[in-house]
Amino acid sequence: MPTFADALYGALALITSRDAQLAGIVALSLKVSLSAVVCATLLALPLGAAVAVTRFRGRRVLIVLLNALMGLPPVVVGLVVYLLLSRAGPLGQLGILFTPAAMVFAQTILILPLIAALCRQAVEDAWIEYEEQLRSLGAVGMRAALTLVWDIRFSLLTAVLAGLGRASAEVGAVIIVGGNIDGVTRVMTTTIALETSKGDLSLALSLGIVLILLVLMLNAAAYLLKEAAQRRYG
C-alpha cells in the first residue's frame, strides 16, 4: 500500500509528463460535462424563469419537485437512463447506450432540475423588483421571463456552475450508461473509481487533482466575469 506522499509524487509526475491517456480522459470528461451543461442550461433557464413569473395550477407542487430533484441520486438517474436506452427500452432505437452521447443524456437529466430550481429562485427574486415596470411596459409571460433571464444572466452563472460542478463530479450515472469503456467512455471520475479499486493510486490521485484544478479554474473565471459585469452594468 503506497503512502499518500508516494501517490502524490506519482500524480505530479504523471501530470507533468503530459501522458496521452490522461489527456484523453480529461478531454472526454470536459466534453461530456460541458455538453450536458449546455443542453441542461438551454432547457432549464426558460423552464425556471417561466415557473417564476407565471401562475398556474400545480405551480407549487412543481417548485417543490424541482427543489427536491436537485438532490437526485446519480446512480438512479443512470439506472433510469440505462433502461430508457437499452435495446428493449423506449429509446433503444437510438443505439447510444455505452457511448458519450448516453452520458451527456444522463448528466443533462441529472443537472436540469438543479439549474432550473436555482434559476427559478433568482428570477423570482428579480421579478419582485421588475414586475410592475415590465407589466406597465406590456412585457408579460414568457417575454418577461426571458427579459429577466437576460438581465440577471451573470447571477445565473452561479446556477450553471453548480450544474457543471455536479456533472463533472458525479460517477454513478456515467458509469452505468457509459460502461467505463477504455478509450471510449472512460472519464475522470469513473477512472478514479476503477484505478483505486485496482490499486493504481497515482493515476487516481492525479486525475483527482486535475479534476479539482479544472473546477477551480472554471469557477475563478466565472467569478471574474461576474465581477467585471457588475462593475460594467451595475
Partner: protein, 237 residues
Amino acid sequence: MILPLKLDQLAFSAGGREIIPPLSLEIGAGVATVILGANGAGKSVLMRLMHGLLAPTGGRVVWSETDEARIRRQQAMVFQRPVMLRRSALANVIYALKIANVSARERESRALDSLKEVGLLPLAHRPARVLSGGEQQRLALARAWALHPEVLFLDEPTASLDPSATREIETVIKAFDASGTKIVMATHNLGQAQRLGDEVLFIHQGRLVERTLADGFFKRPSSAEAAAFIKGELPWV
C-alpha cells in the same frame, strides 16, 4: 382617444382591509390632474388600479375605447423608483418601443429623440443602472416619452430625489403636459402639486374628499381634511 377614464364604483381591499372604498369619478383629457394626499392615503393604489397593475376587488375601470391592446399602449407609468434593465440608457428606451411593437427601423431614432428631450443624449450609451437617481428617473420619463402615450401616470416621481433633480424632472413633466399628454400624478408634496397641477383630487383614507381646480384648492379648500393637510396638520391625529 382612450380618455375620458371612468371609475365606476371602483374599490380595492387587501387582507380584509378596505384601502379604496367604492369610488366613482371621471378623468378627462386636457388639464393636469394631481392626486394629493398624505402617505398611506391610497394614492398609489388608486393609480395602479387605473393603470391596470392591480385588479379592483369591486367596480370597474372604464376607458372610452374597448380594445385592450390599444388601451395598454396609450398609457405609460413612471414609478417612484425607476427600474432599469442592465443595458445602456438607449437600449432601455428601445426595449420599451420593441414591446410596444414599434417597427425596428423607427425605434432608435425615436429613442434618441426622447433622450434628447430629457437631456440624456450625452449619456445614451452609458449603462442605465450606473446613472444617478435623478438621471434614471429622467430616463424613465424618456422611456415613457418615446411611447407617445395619451395618458402618463406618475407615482411620486420625485419623492426620492434631491431638489435640483426634482426641478429637472418637473421640467420634463411640464413638457409632457405642453405636448398634450394627459398627466395624472400622485404626490404628497404641496409645492409640486401647485407647480404642476391644474386640478387636484384630494384623497384621504382612500376616499375622494375634494376635487377642485388647483387655484381654488390651495386658497380655499372646501373640506376640513384638505384644509388641515395644507396647514401641515395631520387631520387624523
